[in-house]
């Protein structure tokens, strides 16, 4: 496998993405909107002028964890669009006729689906954490962020969640034939991560660094399995003879 080929494919995918205004606004404005909304939640519910909430830690960690859910939502749509877009434009046949392997193609598309959303998530999470520190410092007398829990969430779990979403989208995108279907599939990849969020809010899962490390390890194992499954699903013959 040649990484240069994958980077060439990724660069082309990014160029195409950057020209789709709807996708760019989806990637940038959705996380930004969440960071603003969550900051308002901190201001009004967790750290109101009357005093800090007794379970402020759960509140801040839950809101930070939601950026992991976001990392599972955004790349899936892009990855599915990237495959289905080729299907719609019928551009896979000439691409498959070049001396590129399935791994190179999927890695290239994966990189393009991974990089913009993960940076958008990190950017939005940084805004949220800075705003939260600003709003809570007077009441806590220390900066809540950054901390290990947020670090594990954003730098381990969020990337693994993004990869999970990309792999599943590649597998699922072979079953749809239009961009809308791809977006719908991409939007469903957050469900397992949303489940953990709800479990945390209900007190069934503690958002601490060690639990999140274990969860990250599980997602990583699933990611590796899904990588092999997605490359096995990407069958050249089927793509050319059955995809309509």
């Amino acid at each position: 496998m040649n990484l240069g080929t994958s980077l060439t494919i990724a660069a082309k995918e990014l160029k195409v993405l950057l020209r789709k205004k709807s996708i760019i606004s989806y990637i940038i404005f959705f996380p930004l909107l969440l960071s603003v909304l969550f900051s308002l939640v901190v201001k009004n519910s967790i750290a109101p002028s009357s005093g800090i909430s007794s379970n402020y830690s759960l509140g801040l960690d839950s809101l930070t964890y939601f950026f992991v859910v976001l990392a599972a939502i955004l790349p899936g749509s892009i990855a599915a669009y990237s495959i289905v877009g080729e299907k719609v434009e019928k551009s896979l046949e000439p691409l498959l006729a070049t001396p590129t392997s399935d791994y190179e193609i999927l890695l290239g598309k994966g990189i393009a689906a991974f990089v913009p959303p993960i940076f958008a998530v990190w950017g939005a999470a940084s805004i949220f954490m800075a705003a939260s520190d600003y709003l809570t410092y007077g009441l806590l007398s220390f900066n809540y962020f950054p901390n290990w829990t947020a670090g594990v969430m954003l730098f381990l779990l969020a990337p693994f969640a993004a990869i999970f979403s990309i792999e599943l989208s590649v597998i699922a995108s072979s079953k749809v034939s239009d961009v809308r279907g791809a977006n719908q599939i991409g939007g469903l990849m957050f469900i397992p991560f949303m489940g953990v969020f709800l479990a945390g809010v209900e007190g069934l899962f503690a958002f601490n660094a060690s639990n999140l490390l274990i969860f990250s390890g599980i997602v990583l194992i699933v990611d590796v399995a899904l990588f092999f499954l997605s490359t096995a699903t990407f069958r050249r013959e089927e793509i050319l003879t059955k995809w309509k």
Partner: protein
């Protein structure tokens, strides 16, 4: 350059390509002529290592189709113009070609040179910075051809390159194909356009799942129906009739001031007959060969197979 032996592809119960054997020589324009669903695209896809063969053998240069390690080498030496051009609509003409140049690992200087060369040759240089999605069908087809040539492949596979094009664009594409022959490129052309096959191809295979016939356009025309040579003179006399009867291997009939010959191979036999007519005192005004057309040959073969 390209060689197949009993090449077969089945999709479940359906036999798409059935024991097809042919050879394409280097620098030749070889046409695959056949109705829709005849197996032309499937054959090209097998030869481009896009889909596997069910049985039989196929080779490109010294590389075996179906051998995993050979397939990358084959893909490096071929270019493909698929029936659906498959361009990236949101990339410009230049970016489409540059991207494929990079995938084929064409060095940057050569890549820039080739992009400019082919865009200029196909009359698209002025549109190099225009998004491919805004192009007309003809322009897209030309861009797809340029894309297939960006790495200077030895063999070019073209699947219906002029289908759905207006006559002017189709003519430009045909002329470009002929210009590639001068560069000694081997071209495998799928078409159901008989006129195009006749004008462009050195040899033609008529495919309808099975390979029905193979030969030059002239050989295929001669393979069905009668071929007649008509010699028009100002007057036909007995001396001329006796002279031609002695040397003509086929049936000779007289029609007023014409003599009509039914010949197996007019190209070979005509010179001697015309010489005999002239030596017997005939004043030859014209010599015409009437034969079945390629269309007649094609329709006869396809109908025979249906029956």
């Amino acid at each position: 350059m390209i060689e197949t032996e009993n090449l077969t592809r089945r999709f479940g119960e359906l036999v798409a390509v059935d024991t097809v054997t042919f050879r394409v020589n280097q620098g030749e324009i070889f046409g695959f002529l056949g109705p829709n669903g005849a197996g032309k695209t499937t054959t090209v896809r097998m030869l481009c290592c896009l889909i596997s063969k069910t049985s039989g053998q196929a080779r490109i240069a010294d590389y075996e189709i179906g051998n995993k390690s050979d397939s990358m080498k084959i893909r490096k030496m071929i270019g493909l113009v698929p029936d659906n051009v498959g361009l990236y609509d949101s990339l410009t003409a230049y970016e489409n070609l540059d991207y494929y140049g990079k995938l084929y690992k064409v060095p940057e200087t050569k890549r820039k040179e080739n992009v400019e060369r082919f865009l200029k040759l196909l009359g698209l240089w002025d549109k190099k910075d225009v998004l491919a999605g805004t192009f007309s069908k003809g322009m897209k087809q030309k861009l797809a051809i340029a894309r297939a040539l960006i790495h200077d492949p030895e063999i070019l596979f073209m699947d219906e390159p002029t289908a759905n094009l207006d006559p002017e664009s189709a003519k430009t594409v045909r002329e470009f194909i002929l210009s590639l022959k001068k560069e000694k490129k081997t071209i495998f052309l799928n078409t159901h356009n008989l006129d195009e096959a006749q004008r462009v191809c050195d040899r033609i295979g008529i495919l309808n799942t099975k390979l029905m016939a193979l030969g030059t356009p002239r050989e295929l025309e001669y393979s069905v129906g009668e071929r007649k040579t008509v010699i028009q003179m100002d007057e036909v006399n007995d001396a001329i009739l006796k002279a031609v009867a002695r040397i003509s291997p086929g049936k000779v009939t007289r029609d007023d001031s014409k003599i009509i010959f039914e010949l197996a191979n007019p190209d070979k036999e005509n010179p001697a007959i015309v010489r005999a007519v002239v030596e017997a005192g005939g004043n030859v005004q014209s010599v015409t060969i009437t034969a079945s057309s390629l269309e007649d040959a094609y329709l006869k073969l396809v109908r025979e197979q249906k029956e």
